[in-house]
Structure formats: structure tokens, C-alpha cells
Amino acid sequence: MDTATAPTQTNYINVAHTAKSWLLTRDHKRIALLYLISVSVFFMIGGLFALLIRLELLTPAGDLFEAETYNKVFTMHGVAMVFFFLIPAIPATLGNFLVPLMIGAKDLAFPRINLLSWYVYVLGGLFTLAAVIGGGVDTGWTFYTPYSTAASNTHVILTGLGVFISGFSSILTGFNFIVTIHKMRAPGMTWFRLPLFVWASYATSLIAILGTPVVAIAIVLVALERTLHIGVFDPTLGGDPVLYQHLFWFYSHPAVYVMVLPAMGVISELIAAFTRKEIFGYKFVAFSSLAIAVIGFFVWGHHMYVSSQSAFAGLVFSFLTYLVAVPSAVKVFNWTATLYRGSISYQAPMLYAFGFLGLFLIGGLTGLFLGALGLDVHVHDTYFVVAHFHYVMVGGTIMAYLGGLHYWWPKMTGRLYNEGWAKFAALMIFVGFNLTFFPQFLLGYMGMPRRYHMYPEEWQVLNVLSTAGATILGVGYFIPTIYLLWSLKKGEVAGDNPWGATGLEWQTQSPPVTENFPVTPVVTEPAYAYAHQEKRFA
């Protein structure tokens, strides 16, 4: 490895070194790194709680925690992972770094608001951490009423405030992305020349802006009912608990797409770069992001089939749930068609992309089981649901996040990581993930309910397998932390375009200068013009 030639030219990292230059930065790339560090902290906190859950479930008896403690442990796992890792992970780190670079802009439209969004996120995180340290919260990440307003005596309001505050950070980011993509594209960068990651970020931003206020208000209403006993959700005060579920899932189903749409955007970039082909049916893939964003708002009642929701509403929501599967399937089919006759190279980022394809397929298809009115009654609130959404959110979002982080790491840091270790980690994560969550499909189908710390003895073998898988998965997530940090000092210098990829971000230096491009680029080609590129080099 060539470690002697450290990059000497000025870039966004070495341009200033003081703490102030980082904490008051308006550079989208530096803010992306701030986000990268803070979401990683929450990933570790959430992961620690996951570890405790799997330890408790190693044996049928409740020997590690009291039932009440266990309730807090899985709640804090969910809150940390969903609101403070999965939702911001790709948009706020990769999105922040890449959206301006990909469209040939100097920065986002509102750099100060971008910095503000990070501080808002940190403030929300601190509120939630205060709740965790102060004794925790036990409502589940969904804060269902009437338990959350009338019964729970844990830190519901403090945690809710944390989630409420951090919601504004995703609204600010979303609004910044939308304005930037509308107004700051380089000359020649038409809508249909945009990389698919930018389309996905645009669709994600729409959801964040339109949905987040609703969940924020729902949480405020929970707080008002707890403190002032205003009857909104509690039946004894004249409220209706099912109304809470409507408000909560109006955002929280689309929130799944806030997590997975940017992941799909990353996968489009990876597949194009490592097959050296244009994405098959570019326009269909682009518009399917918008279709998912819109139709995703019509399906929330599939979480409520066993509540008192009317059978008629259930029917409508079930139909629409099947409908939203179509644009997701369009993407998967088009990626597969892109692989056909591509010159595929199996580098680490592409291994993550393959992992995504397999896991998202299983997660998506089992979602159809749950969308069915009849079958859902059998598996509702069982480990089948837990396995399903982990396949979508962990198997989908985190695979793509890691794939993207590896792919753009040379651009972000100027250094290459160790390819062998990266491939090994990708493999471990894939194996560990399946071993953790596949047994949970079986457990759920057999009737093991979620959120219990004890279970009958006949389910122990599958639970032990799941815990063993979680251990492998945990180690798999830890390895990249080591070699990525190692690469910062000792990694081979990457050069501007180590993958030979198309895209404006690869045409500027690594790491880029603060203004991204010395001269504003002019775009003359569609995205993924690999066919032209081969001709040029031939």
C-alpha cells in the first residue's frame, strides 16, 4: 500500500482545523460528517439495547430483566434506531454530502439552515438521552394510547419531546433538498439527467415535509393529555385511542419510505457503477420514487387491521397496500434487468448492493403477507412482523447505507479502505443478518408474540439461533468501524475517481474543495453514460 503520498492540496477537511471551524461550518460536506458521527453514536446506543434484548431471549425464563425493564429496553432500541438512526442516516449523511456535488452546486440552498438542522437533531437526541439516563420509557417506539397517556409512569413526555424536536431537523433537511434540487442544478443538468439518488432524495424530502408535522402534533397531543388531561385519545376523557393510531401511522408508514427510498437511490448508483451500464428504464425508476412517496401516504391503516378500524377501511387500505408494492417491484425488476449482460465487478460496495436486493426482496414480499386482511390477523404483533420490518429497514436501509458509505468513502476522505476486510465484513453482515431474523419469521408464524421477555421452551432453539446471528451481525458492524477509521491515516490515497464512475461528484478532486468545483461544470450527457465512457477510453 502506498501510504507515503498523503494528499497535499487544499480540501474541505484540511482547510481549517479548529473546533469552531467544524461547529460553525456551513459546508454541506462538513455537516455531513457531523451527522455521520452523531448517527453512528445513536446506532451504537440502539445496537447496545438490541444486544440486551437478544441476551434476555437466549433462555425461555425472564432471567436477565424484570418485565418492566425489558419493556424499556425494546422501547429505547426502537426509538434510538428509528428516529435517530434510520430516518436521518442516508439523507443527512450521504444526502447532505452528495446532493450538491451530484447536481454541480457549490452547496445546499440554505447552508445556515443545514447547520441548524444538525443542532436541532442533537438537541432532540439530548432530550431522548436524558429520558434514557433518567430511567427510560416503556411504551414501545409507537407511544400507543391509552397506555402512553393514562398508564405509563415513565419518561413519555421527555422522549416524545426528543422525537418532536428531531422531527424538525428532517423537515429542515427535506426543505433544503427540495429548494436546492429545483434551483441550483448546474447548466445542462436537466431533470432527466439527474442521478437517481437525487430523484430518491427529492421524493424522500416530500415525505419528510408532508408527514413529519402530523406525527409531531400527535406526540404533542399525547403530552397535553398526560399533563392537562385534555381528552383526545383516552376514552375515559371522551377521546378515542384509535385516532392516535391514525395520526401516528399517517407519518410512520411513509417514514418507512424515508428510510428506504434514499437506500434505493444508493442502490441505483451502485448497480450502475459496478455493472458499467445505464440503469434500465431510468425514467420508470425515477418516477417510481415519486409514486412510492405519494401512494405511501394512502396505506397507513394496514397497521390497524386488528384495532376497531372499520372493516371497510381495512379493505381499502389492503387494496392500496398491494398497489404501493408495484413501484417497489418496478425498481427491483429494473435493477435486475440492469445486471443482465453488465460487466459486473464484485467490489465491496456491490456486495452490499447484492445483499440489499436479496434482503429487500424477502422484506417486501413478507409485507404482502401482512397487507392481506386475513393472514395479518394470525401474525399481527408476532415475531413475523418484527422479522418483516427488520428485513426492510435493516436489510434494506442499513445494507444500502453501508454500501454507499464504502462507495463514496474515497470521495469523502480521499482514502481507500482495505478491500479484503470490507468484503469479509459485508459477508458477515449478510450471514449474521439472515441468521438473526429468518428464525423470527418461523417464531412469529408459530405464534410467538413480540415484546415479551419470556416464552415457552419449545421456541428456545430458534431464539438461540437468532441470538447467535445477532452476535455475528454485531461483529460484522464493528469491523468496518475499525478499518474505515484506520484508512483515514493509513489508507491508500484514492485519487479523484477510483471506481471509474460517471457522475459529477467523481469529476472533482477527492476530498473536494469547499466550493466543490473550481469551475461550475456544464452537463452534456445523461446520467450513467457508461457506453460513451467506454468508447472514449477505447
Binding site: H182, L210, F250, F297, G301, S310, F312, A313
Partner: protein, 99 residues
Amino acid sequence: MSDHVASRGLYVAIFLALMVLTAMTVAVTYIDMGNANLFVAMGIAVTKATLVVLFFMHVFWSDRLIKVTVVTSLVFLVILFAFTLNDYLGRGALGVAGR
């Protein structure tokens, strides 16, 4: 936003209209119109909100992108209300016991 000059007279007129509508909001609470109560009250409220958004928030003079943005957010609010009401008003519609 800078390409229009709304006259002071228009702003005053809108303000007076809002005051009249507010007085009407109070007045109609003294009249029992049965099922129409809700619709009359909501009708007045929506008219007021429309005036505020169009004139005080300058949407009337804004370009198409801003108008599309405003309409889109309203459409999503309608989705929230319509599909929630589809549950409450649809209970018992299919003859399933309790649902």
C-alpha cells in the same frame, strides 16, 4: 415576492372581511341549524384561511411552483382527514360485527 405592490386599501379590505367573518363565527353559534352547524362553521373558517393564505401570505401573486406547493400540502391534509373519516363513517358498512 418583490414583483407586486399590493395597495394598502386591499389589505385593509381583507382585514375588515376577516373581522366580519369572525363576528359571523360567533353569531352562528347562537343559531341551531342541526347537522348544518358544523358545515357553516367550517365554511366560514375555510373562507378566512383562504383569504389569509392568498393575500396576507402573498400566494395570490406568487409563481406557479409556490401555488403547486400550497395546493399539494392541502391535498395531503385532505388525505389525512378523508381516510380517517373513511374508518369512522365506514364502521358497520360491511356488516362485520363490531367493525
